[in-house]
Amino acid sequence: MIIAERKPFAEIKDAVAPYEKVLVVGCGTCVAVCLAGGEKEVGLLASQLKLARGQNGKASQIGEITVERQCDLEFIRPLSETVAAYDAVISTACGAGVQFLAALPEMKPVFPALNTTFIGVNEEAGFYTERCRACHQCYLGLTGGICPRTMCPKGLLNGPCGGNIRGKCEVNPDRACAWCEIYAKLEGEGRLGLIEAILPLHAHGRSTTPGTVIHPAYKRRYGAHE
């Protein structure tokens, strides 16, 4: 899922300072799971804003609403009407959700409440780690299920750099060297043959942003080439 962290409160407060009526819009999917932008966090942010604005003696109205997913039109379309009563919107979705929301017709100025960080996993309560850089060319089948582009900070494709020390990464000695892990895993499984051949340069052309994926079943509908 997509992992995000909440921005410092002062930054959010300052961004919406010029607006009297502010709606905080939460997202019930990834950012709710990583405790950054779900219904609970929306409630917390709204109370913080009310409190801070109250202390400044400023009349204000802070509304709250959380939708299932902000990256899905089906869930955000009704917000075009909801925002009529407000001057600005704070979105606690990931960057994708914020943009989709901001592009709705009749939308008010939208401000992000989160810094979107990575595609990752929920290791333990409140503990998330990165796993994928969405590189458009997944190597996991060759590398024992350990991503060489993400878990190795240099994204090397052909084995470890010279910097690992006793299997720890040169960049962060608290982390294992991804290539030492890949090797050990494949060795244990008797599958080292998979990484013997030199992998060619990565095709970065495919990941020129912004990316588009059209499901094969829908290619005709969107006039995409088969």
Partner: protein, 294 residues
């Protein structure tokens, strides 16, 4: 053919001395070793923003070394340039007659002095070797033909004390497959480790230079406290000899030690040559060579 390639091929035990491109454009310190030592040294190694610290361009420095009448060995990392830049710099090197290239991944940006810079690593060191081989064969990495192809003598790095060793051996194999002409090792202080590594490597067609280094006082103190975190180790007798001295003294004693290691490596034929890291300081380099009886 470069002097380095010739010396390696002829079993002449080349000595490559590392110099330091300045942070700035004052060239005096960088070029000082050239006047003093040119006769005793086969080539001068030129780091490429070593430790991810921004310095004068290694390519420009290599040209300056060449103009001063010495032979450069240009280090080239994958950290700061994408494939276009790597290839055009390689062509630039080729056109300037800079033949000796050492391909490296490069220390990560966050360890250097521009920690917020974008790390590139569009190629890795194996792929960089392949790119250079491709240019030599007359085409770029996109398969397009060149008008005139460069000639290189291509090097790569190996780590005699790598732990675990097996993933490193895989990388060495790939570097060989990519067409490396010679290797340079990580610094080595413990010759027993080098002997073991040589045995492990088996009979090699490809030559390698062992790296001897003048250690810094800081590094020696870390080792004395069991805090040394490097891809090479300082054996107890080295730590004992150097620890507790003032920093200048450590450098002088360290240079004498590096010289002794150099001599022993040559006498025992533990490598086909040496790469000397002596802080880019001509006095220390001279001391290394003197102690080596070179």
């Amino acid at each position: 053919m470069s002097k380095l390639k010739e010396a390696l091929a002829g079993g002449k035990f080349p000595i490559v001395m590392e110099i330091n491109p300045p942070k700035g454009v004052d060239l005096k310190g960088m070029l000082a070793p050239l006047q003093g030592l040119n006769g005793q040294v086969t080539a001068f190694g030129i780091p490429d923003n070593e430790h991810a610290k921004m310095k004068l361009s290694a390519l420009a420095a290599a040209r300056l070394v060449q103009e001063a009448g010495a032979e450069p060995l240009l280090l080239m990392t994958c950290r700061d340039r994408n494939r276009l830049a790597l290839e055009s710099d390689l062509l630039g090197a080729g056109a300037l007659g800079l033949e000796n290239i050492l391909a490296l991944s490069g220390d990560f940006v966050s360890l250097g002095d521009h920690p917020d810079a974008k790390p590139v690593y569009d190629a890795d060191s194996v792929q960089l070797l392949q790119i250079a081989r491709g240019l030599m064969a007359g085409h770029d990495s996109a398969g397009l033909p060149l008008k005139g192809s460069p000639q290189f003598c291509l090097g790569a790095v190996l780590i005699p004390e790598a732990d675990p060793m097996a993933p490193q051996l895989l990388k060495i194999k790939k570097k060989l497959e990519a067409g490396v002409d010679f290797f340079i090792s990580a610094p080595i202080f413990d010759l027993e480790k080098l002997r073991q590594f040589k045995k492990l490597l088996g009979p090699q067609e490809v030559k390698f230079l062992a790296c001897v280094k003048v250690p810094k006082a800081e590094e020696v103190e870390q080792a004395a406290q069991g805090q040394h975190r490097k891809v090479y180790s300082l054996p107890p007798e080295v730590v004992q000899e150097l620890a507790g001295n003032d920093p200048e003294e450590v450098l002088l004693k360290g240079a004498a030690l590096a010289g002794r290691l150099l001599r022993q490596i040559r006498e025992e034929k533990l490598a086909d040559g040496v790469y000397v890291k002596a802080k880019g300081k001509v006095e220390l380099m001279a001391k290394v060579l003197e102690a080596a009886g070179a």
